[in-house]
Symmetry: D2
Subunit: 208 residues, 4 copies
C-alpha cells in the first residue's frame, strides 16, 4: 500500500448507485443493507470520499443503475434473475424519490454521470469507458453499492477494460457479512490493485 | 436480392436520428441535406418503412444522437472534429424542438429507443447491442441520417458486432450526391448484405 | 427448471479453460482445485456435457485464457493481481503441455475456439460475442474453470451482453468449498437463469 | 496543425495490416492498390514512420486482419460481403507468405501485436483497446492499409472509443484515387483530429 499513488490528472472517484432506494432511510433496499452499512459507516465514508475527491481535485464519475420504467422488460426474450427482481420491485423507479440520488450525492458541475446500466456493471452498455478516456482517467477509486453485485461487476469490468482499481472497503455494503466477504475477500482481491479503508484513502489523497 | 428474407422474430427496423434538426423544415441541418433528401424522397421513404414495419410486425429500434447539453465537452481532453461541430452548432439541443423526434417518428409503445450515442455509431457506448439481443434480433433494416456519418458508422459497427444489415438507400440523405456516393457506393457495399430501395423493401416485407 | 429448453439452433455449450494446467494431473493449478474437482466429478462432468452436446447437435465454443509468453506484461503500466499471479507462475505457458487442451477436450471440426482472454472473462477483448452471434447463439450452457474467476466473470459478462446462461454446477471447480459457494450460491444465481447438475442437463438435452 | 503534440508516454504508432498480400510485389491485393501506393510512396512512408517512431521512443502497435484458415466461415449464418471476398480469395492465408508481415515491418521486441480482427476495425472483437490502455496510450498515429476499409473503420472505432487520432495520409493506399478521396477527404476529417503527410509527422516527432 505504501506505493499507492493517485495522480490528479489520471485518477477519478467512481461512485456507484448512490440512490435513495439503496442508502436512504425508507429506500426499497435500505433495510436489507442497513445492518452492514451502519456497522461500517458506509454512507458517511462514501460522503467523505466524495468531499475529499472534490477538495483535492479528483474528478467524480457516477455509474447509476437503470431507473425502472413501465415497459422495460415485457418484451425481452430472456431476463436475468437480478433484472427480474428489479422489475418486480420497481427498484429505482423513474420519477420517484427512490430513483433519485441521495441528496448529498447530487452531481455538481464538472461531475460526470454515465448512462444508466441495465444490470450490474457500470461499464456494460454505457458510455462510462468513453467518458473516462475523454478525461484521461486510467485509475479508479471505487465506492458505492452493492458490494457483490454492482460494485463487483463494475470492478471486474474495469480491470478487463484496462483500468487500475482501488476499492474503498468500508464505503460499500451488502445484505450480510457473508456477501461482503464473498466480494471483498474471496473475489475482488484478484482484480482490484488495492482494497483499503476510507481513512487510508483520505490520508493518501490529502497528503499529495 | 431474390433471397432476401426477413423473419419477424429476428429482424428489426433501425431508424437513425429522425430529429427535427435533421429532417424537418427549420431544423439546423435540414438546409444542408434538403437537396438530396427531397430528390430521393428520404423522409417519405423513412416513414413508409416505419409504417410497413409496424404493419407486418417488425420491432422498431431507434438510435438517437446525444442531445447537446451545456457542459458536455468543456472538460474533454480531446474531441473529434465531428463532435466539435456538434458542440458549436448545439445540434439536437436538449429541451428544444430541434432535439425532438420529427412528429411522425415519435416512438410508440413497444418501440425501443437505445441510449444516445456521442459520435456517429448507434452502437458505440450505448445499449443498442444489448437491446437487440434481448429481443432476439439478428438482422437489421437500416434507415435514417446522415449517410456518410451516423448511418455508415452504425452499419460498420453492426457488421463488426455480427449483425446482418440491409440498407434502404433512398431512406437516407446527405450533404450532396458525392457524400451519398461515398457511403452507398464506395463503402457500404462491403458491409451491408443488401442495399435496396424502399419500394423493394416494402414489397419484400409485405409479401411475407 | 421444468421450463428449461435448449433449442439446438440458438444454444451452445461454452467450455472455459480446459487446459492441462487446470484439470490434468501434473498441471500447475491442478493440486489447488483437485479436492473440489474430485469430490464433484468436475472433469468427468465436463466431458459428459461435451459428449452430450456433440451427440444432440449443440455447437461447442471454447473460451481459453491467454497462454503465457515472455514479454506479455513487462511493459504494462498497471496489472491486476490475478494477472500478476499468472505472470509469476507462467500459467498456461505457450508451447508447453500445461498450455494445451486436456486431450479429451481437443477441439473437433466445427467447434469454435474464441481468441484468448487476458484476464477472467471469455468475452472481454475477444471475438467470443461475435462468433456466438454469427452462429445465431442466444443461450449458453457453461462449464469449466475456475468457478469464482473465469467462470463467474464469463457468466457476468454473458448476461450483461444479453445472453441467457445455464451453469453446470458440478462441471466446475475451485480452491475450496468456500470459493465454490461464493460463486455458485452467493453471486451467480443473480445472473445465470439456471444453475443445475450435469445429470439434469444431460437429461434435458437428451430428451429433446 | 501548429499545435499537434505527441507525448511519448501517451502516443503510439498504429500500423494496420502490413501483410505481404497488401504491400509486397506478388501479394494477392498488391496489384489493386499498387497504382495509388506507388504514386504516394505508401510503403516507404509507412516504413519511415515506423523507423521514426522507434527512434523517438513511441511504442508501436499492429492491428492485423484475421489470417484465413479453412473452416472460418462455413458455419456462419450471415457473412458480410467484405468477409465473403476475403474467404473466396483466401486473403492473408495462414501459413503462407501472403499472410506474413512484409519483412521490414516484422514486429520487434517491445512492439505490441493485437489479436487479429475479423472484418475491418482493428478494435472490434480484439484486445487492441485493452493493450493501448495498459500502456497508457491516448493518442494514435495511424498508417496502413486499406484506406476506405480497415483504416477508416479502425479510425472510426478509435474515435468512438475515445482516442485522439492523427492519420498519415500518404502512408495508406487504396484501389483508386476515388476510394482515397472517400476515406481521406469525405469521411475521415470528421473523426481524425489531424490528417497530415508523413513528412510533417516525421518533422513533428523528430523535433521533440
Amino acid at each position: 500500500m505504501a506505493d499507492l499513488k493517485f495522480e490528479k490528472e489520471s485518477t477519478a472517484l467512481l461512485v456507484i448507485d448512490p440512490y435513495n432506494d439503496f442508502i436512504s432511510e425508507g429506500g426499497k433496499i435500505w433495510d436489507r443493507i442497513k445492518s452492514v452499512a451502519e456497522a461500517n459507516g458506509c454512507v458517511a465514508n462514501m460522503l467523505q470520499l466524495l468531499i475529499t475527491a472534490r477538495k483535492v481535485g479528483l474528478r467524480v464519475f457516477y455509474a447509476m443503475h437503470h431507473r425502472y420504467r413501465p415497459g422495460d422488460y415485457e418484451t425481452w426474450k430472456h431476463i436475468a434473475p437480478i433484472q427480474k427482481a428489479t422489475w418486480s420491485r420497481k427498484t429505482f423507479e423513474y420519477g420517484t424519490w427512490g430513483g433519485e440520488f441521495r441528496a448529498e450525492f447530487t452531481p455538481q458541475p464538472g461531475d460526470i454521470v454515465a448512462q444508466e446500466h441495465w444490470c450490474s456493471s457500470g461499464f456494460a452498455n454505457t458510455d462510462l469507458d468513453l467518458l473516462l478516456k475523454r478525461h484521461g482517467i486510467q485509475k479508479l477509486i471505487v465506492a458505492g453499492l452493492i458490494a457483490h453485485t454492482c460494485v463487483e461487476s463494475t470492478v471486474r469490468f474495469a480491470v478487463e477494460l484496462g483500468y487500475d482499481v482501488t476499492l474503498a472497503k468500508d464505503a460499500t455494503a451488502d445484505y450480510s457479512e457473508e456477501f461482503m466477504h464473498a466480494a471483498l475477500v474471496t473475489n475482488l482481491p484478484n482484480y482490484a490493485g488495492a482494497i483499503v479503508t476510507t481513512k487510508e484513502l483520505v490520508g493518501l489523497l490529502s497528503s499529495k
